[in-house]
Structure formats: C-alpha cells, structure tokens
Amino acid sequence: MAACSIKPAIPVILKELEQGSQFFHQGASLRVTGKLQEYSVDTAIAVITEADVSFKIDTQHLRDLTFRIGSYYQFIGELLVFPEDSAILQARVGRNVDGLDINLYHRSLQLRRQFEVELMNSRVT
C-alpha cells in the first residue's frame, strides 16, 4: 500500500506550537484541536483557538466539511513554517469534534505520551 508512507499526525495542544517547541518544525505532521474563531471562504483559511492561543489552518484541500464559528474542530496535516516564525497547518483531514471534553483530552494526552515513552523504552531494553 503506497499510502503507508503517510506519517502519523502527533496530537498537540495549541500552546505547544511555539518556536523552540519539539513539534514546531517544517513539515511536522500534527493533529490540532480548537474552537473555530474565523473562517474565510475566499482564502479557505480557518483560525482556531484554545486557551487563548490561536492558530491558522489552511483548509483548501478539505471537502465535505461545514465550518461553523464557535464549533470545535480537529485537523490533521503538515506544518508550514514561514521565515518570520509564523506557521500554518496545511490540513489534509478535518472533522467536527463538538462534544469533545477538552480537559479530559489534554489529561489523557499526557498519560498517553508517558505510556508511549515507556513503550519505546521497553523495546530498547
């Protein structure tokens, strides 16, 4: 299957997407979640927010997704970092996640990361 070359998109919290972060690099495959703050039909650029951090999403490749301001969305795609250290996620997949318990999501994500590290370490030893 040629599609096996697709990299897994690491789930991140918006506040982790800042310069110097391990996730903030050109071409990183990421999964981001946030509330839709703005959406431009002309440019297909969406802005999502979470805990006072906003982030731009390029949604031009998405089909069959309705955008509603105030709803929660999750996007999977690749990070495009510009020279001035701003960035945008070029989404290849998106979905509405209204009803997601964000606090549970964040706490579970931390547990999951810890488990993945333990899993990796157990393979090494």
Binding site: A3, P8, V93, R95, L100, F115
Partner: protein
C-alpha cells in the same frame, strides 16, 4: 489471546512477527495476540473491486487496514449477505472519520496490518480518548507480563 486486544498503533505495529508458522503469528512482549481493536482517524482510503484498504491514524502510528468485500470470516455462511454487509461498512469509511476497527492481525509485505472483521464510525469524539485510556490501562494491568 482470542479476544480483540486494544492497542495503540505504535504498540500494534511493533508486534513481533513469527514467520515460522503459516500464516505468521504475532506476539507482544512474549504473549501471543491474534486479534486487535484500534480507534483512529481515516487518513487514506483506496477502494478496489475486491477490497477496501485504508489507513487509521491514532497519532502514534498509521495502521494499514484491509476490508475484503468478496468474503468474510467463517461465521458468515451466506457469502452474499456478508459481502453486502462489507460493502455497506466500506461506504462508511471516509476520509476524516473517526473509526473503530476490529479484526485479525495479519502481515502484508512484512508490515503488520488489520484484516477487518468489522468497522464502525464513532460519532462521539470522546470515544477515541476513552480508547487511549483503555489501551494504557489494559497494557499495564492485563497485557504486560508481571514485573
């Protein structure tokens, strides 16, 4: 284990493959596993006449899945009905959908995959989070050998 073992993709894709048996068998930390359950987002799909292949991304890895459309497991004797069910399931597997996949662990060209027994689209976005927690808890309490 004859049950469907709940695994994160990183865990599933790193199972040890034993080619001495035919078909190959799989072990996790020394314990045999034959069936798995995974939850993630469909990030790729390819429909052919006889099968649907798709990738499920759970953030730790992308699990290749294959859903045969021309036959099903032995429990389904009526191949016509089974094939129709498989085609209906295949139609629900669309890019961006959160799906729960259960099936037999197989290998194709050296890569671990799931030969799908059933696949359902999850409407509740929290289902994925609960699956993560299940995976972590079950790994520590049930799947891992005692320290």
């Amino acid at each position: 284990m004859a049950v469907h073992v709940k695994l994160l993709a990183a865990d599933l894709l790193s199972l040890a493959v034993h080619h001495a048996s035919c078909p190959p068998s799989f072990t996790r930390k020394g314990k045999p596993v034959s069936r798995a359950e995974a939850v993630g987002v469909v990030v790729s799909r390819e429909r052919k006449d006889k099968y649907l292949s798709f990738l499920v991304d759970d953030g730790s890895g992308c699990i290749p899945c294959i859903l045969w459309l021309n036959h099903r497991s032995d429990r389904e004797r009526d191949l016509g009905v089974a094939a129709e069910m498989a085609r209906e399931e295949a139609a629900t597997v669309q890019l961006g959908k959160l799906v729960r996949v259960r099936g037999t662990i197989t290998a194709y060209r050296g890569v671990v995959q799931i030969t799908v027994g059933d696949v359902v689209v999850e409407r509740d976005p929290n289902a994925e989070v609960l699956h993560w927690l299940d995976c972590v808890r079950l790994a520590k309490c049930c799947y891992d050998p005692p320290p």
